[in-house]
Symmetry: C2
């Protein structure tokens, strides 16, 4: 089968289409004929560093496709259209998925749309509700509103969280799109000072929850933006990881809860439980088009280099998809 | 009545015994004839900075005594022996206590022992269970094991949490005492490298929860000592507040939850709810002497300067008490 591997750690030019042996399933696993896979930042990190959480030479942590074979004990039938996380190996014609991670694709969604769901919606669900404990009528600040996780988080915070959403992005186009997804307030971080806007919008109280993909470059403004007893979930460091002069009294004085998280390296059991709860809470909303997978661009598999470069240029709104055929 | 106020922000010499008007109660409040009050770090900070969370010129955030008057709606009867937090004003012959904060003193405890309970046991309860979410069989690292909060936390983690307790202190005497309270492992931070000892004791896994009063000087060792998905509750900065080169990837990589907290500035409702739950879970254990208030030294009210200096020298094991008569 065709698959994407990395020649040696480095840039997008290191990605190569290779002929690779078709994987085999164990008990409780499904073999998926992959129709679409999505590109994630973790794939770029794996490509650059040459090491992965996944122990799989083939990139890719999520797919949508059709069940081709079902191992003993798997409950999903051959022929079912499914989407879900995989243990790496998503950028390929066939991939193995634990049966417990397989979500039946709602009939109104294409494979390309379905492939845009698992990683970012599960991450957003986990950070907003499991870690962030978002409650109705609270206010959440979602940075990088146009990103894959951002577009998912805005929708989940509104549709499931019944929360107020403030989001930041770097262009009017992205902010208009975020508002179309339900964001109450959009802040252009290139033209406005976001913490000042957040305080204006919250009667100087700050927000209950911050979803932070940015890290260092937003650190002090996030400190200003967060409410006393606020929760702050850190899921990325696109703006750097090193904080100079971090003062613990800021954390004590505002009684902040700061939690770092990642989805990919978590245990199989965690991902199974998260998938199960997420699917039960969102299936109807996806079926009714109240939640929408956001697809920015679909690339054929052999244009995987362009797909990675597109993400690295931060031009996308929503997900970048690889189509297998 | 006699009371302690601060002449001007500064050292212990600024503390003075003054004649002050007796306070009056409002609805839902009790007037307490104070028999004993306890010294807390927050009192020292108030003395040094001249500003308090309490808007009360008289120091002191907890007392034990007898109800002298009960405002309308208060459920506690005149004559009842009670202990509890107060809105400042504890270092005095009379103090006002919200009725909802009043805990009836178990018969086996003296006023001096009772005054040693509220602040440190409520703080330890809050940090271990409400914030730290300590579960049975987990391992908690309690720094400053000989301190007021430390001695309370060791006992609560064992008696209520059924957890494994590792504690640090700076002398054999303090560590022996911590072990007598139930600590499973004691580490002398002056003679041993505590993170190495923690890893040895936890099969290289680290601890589930850290109670951190120290801050900056222990930062990197705490990072090494904490387990993946560990919780870290920060309630003091005795070892400094400023972290140089704080790397957010440490927080993300181990998926750490870092929470800053303080008890004193929290809302009345929070303290009422905490007091109620704490009292219901601990009354029988105090009555049966399974939980013990730890009194280091009792000073008469007019030796308040010596009492503060004793705390500032970090010589105490457990609480420092002021006796009114």
């Amino acid at each position: 089968m065709k698959a994407i591997t990395v020649k040696q750690p480095g840039g997008a030019e290191q990605l190569q289409v290779v002929e690779h042996e078709k994987p085999t399933t164990k008990d409780g696993e499904l073999l998926i004929k992959v129709e679409a896979a999505a590109v994630n930042r973790t794939d770029i990190v794996t490509r650059q560093n040459g090491s992965s959480y996944m122990k799989n030479p083939i990139l890719g942590v999520e797919v949508a496709g059709v069940v081709a074979e079902a191992g003993a004990g798997a409950k999903t039938a051959v022929g079912t259209r499914v989407m879900g996380l995989v243990h790496g190996g998503g950028y390929a014609e066939y991939a193995v998925m634990p049966d417990e991670w397989a979500m039946k694709i709602p009939e109104n969604l294409s494979f390309e749309e379905a492939a845009a769901i698992p990683e970012v919606f599960l991450t957003a669900y986990q950070t907003l509700f499991w870690i962030g404990q978002l409650r109705p009528d609270e206010t959440v600040l979602i940075h990088a509103g146009g990103s894959g996780v951002g577009t998912a988080a805005i929708q989940l915070a509104k549709q499931i969280g019944q929360a107020n959403v403030i989001t930041t992005a770097g262009s009017k186009e992205k902010l208009d799109f975020c508002r179309s997804l339900g964001a109450d307030i959009g802040i252009n971080y290139k033209e406005q000072i976001f913490d000042e806007e957040v305080l204006k919008a919250t009667n100087d109280q700050g927000v209950d929850l911050i979803l932070d993909f940015i890290g260092a470059s937003y650190w002090n403004k996030n400190l200003t933006s967060i409410k006393v007893d606020g929760r702050w979930v850190l899921i990325g460091v696109l703006g750097g990881a090193e904080i100079e002069g971090f003062n613990l009294m800021d954390v004590i004085g505002k009684r902040i809860q700061l939690t770092g998280t990642l989805l990919t390296p978590r245990s199989d059991e965690y991902k199974s439980a998260l998938t199960k709860e997420f699917y039960s809470k969102t299936l109807e909303l996806f079926t009714d088009n109240k939640l929408k997978p956001i697809v920015d661009h679909v690339f054929p598999l052999d244009q995987v280099q362009q797909a990675h470069e597109h993400m690295e240029n931060n031009k996308n709104i929503g997900k970048i998809i690889l189509k297998m055929n």
